[in-house]
Symmetry: C2
Subunit: 104 residues, 2 copies
């Protein structure tokens, strides 16, 4: 069964990449046409190809870290705050609450 631990590992792995970390830093609070941070702009900002950024956004999307929507002709991504909070909470449980599991 796909443990909850597997999901956490997947999410942390998704965030634990320097390119994806930089992408996350560029993403706005909420879908936002004004600033125009579409996929191509992010690619230009990070000096990587558009398909590469698209690939990384897909990884983040499949990990449930970001959401996206088509607006004003382009595609906009933003951080899913609820998912982010959940990840952080699980990390706190794992790293800060010790549970010395001694079997039987």
């Amino acid at each position: 069964m796909p443990d909850i631990e597997d999901e956490l590992a997947k999410q942390l792995w998704a965030i634990g990449d320097i390119t994806r970390l930089r992408i996350l830093r560029l993403l706005p609070d909420k879908a936002d046409c004004e600033h125009g941070n579409n996929v191509s702009k992010i690619a230009e900002e990070l000096n990587l190809s558009q398909p590469t950024i698209s690939h990384h956004l897909r990884v983040l999307r499949q990990a449930g870290i970001v959401q996206h929507e088509k607006m004003c002709r382009d595609c906009f991504y933003w951080v899913d705050r609820d998912a982010a909070r959940a990840v952080i909470e699980r990390m706190e449980k794992l790293l800060l609450e010790s549970e010395p599991v001694t079997k039987a």
Copy 2:
């Protein structure tokens, strides 16, 4: 220069592996002879070879997530709580505090 962002990515990457996540779950609060969770015991618990666990512990050590010390003939590892808190704090800054960086 090795950015602080690089370090965070490295740390999250280190934690974002299912085997290392399970290792972390087994580690005690502090170096602890009593429970006897040495490297070989962890290997047995997770059904992996001792060198494999040693390798993963090294990754976690180099990322500054765990500490280790030789005690009572064996080698004991534990989670570095301060480092863990620092990682969580940086994650909160990255994911929950939006900073729409618009250059110029």
